[in-house]
Symmetry: C2
Amino acid sequence: MAILIERAEYVVRDAERIERDADVLIEGERIAQVGRVARENKSAWTVIDGRGRAVIPGFVNAHAHLYQSFLKGLRDDVPFVEWNDATLFPMARAIHQEYRAEGNDAGGYHWGILSALEMIRGGVTCAVDMNMNMDSVMRAWRDVGMRGVSALAVVDRWIPKVLLRDLETTKTETLRLIRSWHNVHSRITVVIAPSTPFLCSRELLEWSRDTAAEWGIGLQIHLSESRYEVDLIRKETGFTPIAYAHNLRLLNSKTTAVHCVHVTHADIDILAETKTTVVHCPKSNLKLANGFAPIPKMLARGVPVALATDGAASNDSLDMLEETRLAALLHKGVAEDATAMTARHAFRMATENGARALGIDAGTLEPGKLADLAIINLERPHLMPAHDILNTLVYCAKSSDVETTIIGGEIVMRDGVIQNVDERAAMRDAARYGVHLFERGKDLWRDER
Amino acid sequence: MAILIERAEYVVRDAERIERDADVLIEGERIAQVGRVARENKSAWTVIDGRGRAVIPGFVNAHAHLYQSFLKGLRDDVPFVEWNDATLFPMARAIHQEYRAEGNDAGGYHWGILSALEMIRGGVTCAVDMNMNMDSVMRAWRDVGMRGVSALAVVDRWIPKVLLRDLETTKTETLRLIRSWHNVHSRITVVIAPSTPFLCSRELLEWSRDTAAEWGIGLQIHLSESRYEVDLIRKETGFTPIAYAHNLRLLNSKTTAVHCVHVTHADIDILAETKTTVVHCPKSNLKLANGFAPIPKMLARGVPVALATDGAASNDSLDMLEETRLAALLHKGVAEDATAMTARHAFRMATENGARALGIDAGTLEPGKLADLAIINLERPHLMPAHDILNTLVYCAKSSDVETTIIGGEIVMRDGVIQNVDERAAMRDAARYGVHLFERGKDLWRDER
């Protein structure tokens, strides 16, 4: 069935090309027309009134850890390494116990739903979840209508032994998840995620690379997030994390390298030459006191940059509009140069750059592209007057201004109402489950250390 | 009439003292009880269901220029000095023409309403407007129910002559506004605002100081915002802007010094010793590429710090929740120390510190305090689960989660509905007027330069 968004005040095809008083026609899962749509067949269409509204490409949250939606708002006063111990490890311990020992994967379903609800409300139409992924997370995406990229995390060192699987199980399970989910459901794809060099042996990094090549899928890896990591990898290998990953031939145009905060000029050259997309997570870098990624330098050198929230434990939300705004603002202050990063740069990072890096045929509003988009109500005191709609969106709009979200041609939220699940029941159940799981994890963690 | 907020999930008295499952009773303009309220007289009260909600002190936006709500989203690619020329001066020119030459003060009413609507929606219960203030702005506050501090801007140099009044008119008009408005309406007070040393002669700074002392009111002044300013004042006077202001005896516990980005250790000592409150505007400092105020150093030295959005041309909103979050995050990143600034520090800056500096008897929820508060709906996917409500509020909550806002015991927004004006008509009229005014200003400015 076709959907017509009629007479939108603005249709933002991308950061540069913006039409006024235009229609968007969606047929099946793709955009059929943008501009003036003939209305002969209108009676058979779902029609959405676009007046006073802006239609924009949906945001692509290029890196998150969705289980951390159970951990939002926990701790704001501990450095990076202790933060793992205070928040992530207890939760990981509980998940490990429930899922691996007891075969219960309800947690994944709950955090999958809870995080997808938050993102759909904020116009995020595609998200990457790097985690010990479970089928239940992907079932949650399917049920709520989210487009997801499951980044199948593999690790085999540094983290406490009780949280590790043996290497053969890790490999077997990763291959099973690729077979079960990659492009099987139309909105779910898979990448392999060797978490970061200090959590992965050289063997596991090479296995990840070869498996990704064999299946034709991407890699996602954390690189140069903290000084701690850079020092550790330099000591172990003699190289920066980025140079080390490059030496192992992990970096190419299908690889997304998350953070890249503490990088050298040579690192930036490597990223540019290999066409690796950097996934910038400015809020997480602030929260964990890791500092500022030199994004303007990367852009000047031609490195592709996407944007992401990271997990909700270090953000503490999955709000891509606010992340886009922060990216646009932060680098002006760091460089003491108001031209260092513009709203247009940041918007592109939050939409098309993420889509391109992840091989998702969306990120701009063009005929033929997947219909992943958000409709923003502009009739709000904080959005009026709108002198320059792209600036208004990046600097003034809020997630709560998203009224309708469409993913793959399906309306998943309309006029603020989530369509596919009972939102109130789902989020209450999820929150209750999250508290239970974290309490259980804290107990286990306390007893075992 | 009394208002009872019944069985709130959380009552945040201040950043440290939080009660669960508590009531708040408001009688007249003040808070009568917090905790368990006897319900004998309940039938005569307005009762608000607090279940699933947090009651918090309203935010105090300690520095803004409300006319800039007409300029939101304009320009993100010009340095500080050019930005004045591209946005502020054309608008100032149009206002000057309309108000001073033609006696039309409708603009002030429109931006007063538009900005107050945005702030009430975001739980801001008191705001400072530094501007060439007009009676019409204060009439707008009165009509919508906002608590406002009118910071009567006086300037006599640097800015283009066509925007300047003669000095005697400035003084006469300032005295008239003090007499007409200071404590005349119960929610409106006045401070004098010699804008910044580079816009004010020594004579005008001294006149401001003496007039403030005579009336027992405060001063608000921009100090050390940009390197440009610091260099200029050093060259002219041999002192930093803060030392210069101190030499002129402008700094004391009733003075609010806005920005204080480029400060020396000696400047911080002066601020601490004079008990001057610094008004931190982190987002504006980023947008205008001025850098980072060393707030953690100021806190360590005992300088009182309040928080503000600054004008919407450099923010581009009046969203104190997002500003609080940014303050809590930014300084962690700058210091590469996750303990450099906590959610509790930032929340205090956004509430009680601003109220104290401005002499407003609010900022915490205590019996006897003015009933200036916001009620936040916690049943949202981005707020659940809430492990630590203060962290949840600062790191996860959004302005749009504010459901009800009470100012001076009056419900000015209830369940998302603005009570005292027709919001839709008011914001449309205001936005239209803003565009008209800016277009007119651009024409005048182009012709006259």
